[in-house]
């Protein structure tokens, strides 16, 4: 099992999938910050004054970590940030589910209508596993870092 997880090509695939998802998710949100702010407000967790600050900064963190991960720069650090973000997102989706909120998750473009729900949580867990994989078994294949 460990040999499979250490396989450098498998690691490259994990890294690229994770990176591309974050880059695309981030770009979609950057293009429409107001919509993203509304999506965040739907979770009813964050105070109103913080909504725009999150909507302005978070998408860029997603894009930057995604791009750096794609090119293999600071892979360990970026996969740690992405993994942490994914765990937080999953917690928020889960609490929204528990409170019975029927809302768009705001994960990608808000218009795609992905609802908060079990499928979203399973997707998120998949991404968490990918980031754990990349974090612990990182191989320098096609990486810029030295």
């Amino acid at each position: 099992m460990k040999d499979i997880l250490r396989n450098k090509y498998l690691l490259l695939v994990s890294r690229i999938i994770l990176a591309l998802i974050f880059v695309f998710a981030g770009i979609e949100k950057i293009s429409n910050p107001e919509q993203f702010a509304v999506s965040i407000s739907n979770y009813r967790i964050f105070p109103v004054i913080s909504l725009n600050i999150i909507a302005i900064t978070l998408p860029w963190l997603e894009v930057i970590t995604g791009v750096l991960l794609l090119f293999g720069v600071a892979v360990k650090e970026n996969s740690a940030v992405i993994g942490t973000l994914m765990i937080l997102f999953t917690v928020f989706v889960f609490t929204a589910m528990l409170r019975g909120l029927d809302i768009d998750c705001g994960c990608f473009a808000t218009s795609d209508g992905q609802k908060v729900g079990l499928i979203k949580i399973l997707e998120n867990i998949g991404l968490i596993l990918l980031s754990i994989h990349v974090y612990f078994f990182h191989h320098k294949l096609f990486s810029i870092e030295n």
Partner: protein, 166 residues
């Protein structure tokens, strides 16, 4: 091997900086601090509600005194947009509970709403937006005489106005 926390700090800092710079330059930029929804109190309604030129999504609000007057005159149906748990804990007497979070156009309680009567939607109070969203949904269904009581249950309760428990 632990990650280099200094690198993480730099990555986060640079991302946030780029976010603020982009937002400043972008046409779609938003204000850094979100303004809370501005409430426009309806001063001119004189409670007839017969405005046919009302636009959908227009939010008309009433204050506690206005709402109480309508309440004592039994001029309106009250709609409680909170969930049934909050509703059963206390609500404006006679209010109909239509939880916004699971609202569908065939909600069983919709039948209690008469299109010719005034409808006042409220929720917990302050900035809870569920009453706004529910009002918009009702407007889409053709209800024109919809107002929002932003003070909500909180303000009603604080003023020791009549309450009903299930």
């Amino acid at each position: 091997m632990k990650p280099d926390y200094r690198k993480i700090f730099i990555i986060v800092l640079v991302s946030f900086a780029l976010g603020f710079i982009y937002n400043f330059l972008s046409q779609n930029g938003i204000s850094i601090i979100r303004q809370e929804t501005e409430i426009i109190y309806d001063e001119t309604i004189n409670y007839d509600g017969n405005k046919d030129d009302i636009k959908i999504n227009e939010i008309r609000a009433l204050n506690t005194a206005q709402v109480y007057e309508i309440f004592t005159n039994k001029e309106a149906v009250f709609v409680d947009a909170r969930d049934s748990w909050d509703f059963s804990d206390g609500h404006i007497p006679g209010a109909v509970n239509i939880p916004e979070y699971k609202f569908t156009p065939d909600d069983p309680n919709i039948k209690y709403l008469d299109k010719n009567r005034k409808i006042i939607v409220y929720c917990e109070g302050d900035q809870c937006e569920v009453s706004q969203r529910l009002a918009v949904e009702l407007q889409k269904l053709g209800y024109k005489k919809v107002w929002i009581y932003f003070g909500g249950w909180k303000e009603w309760f604080e003023n020791n106005l009549p309450a009903e428990k299930l």
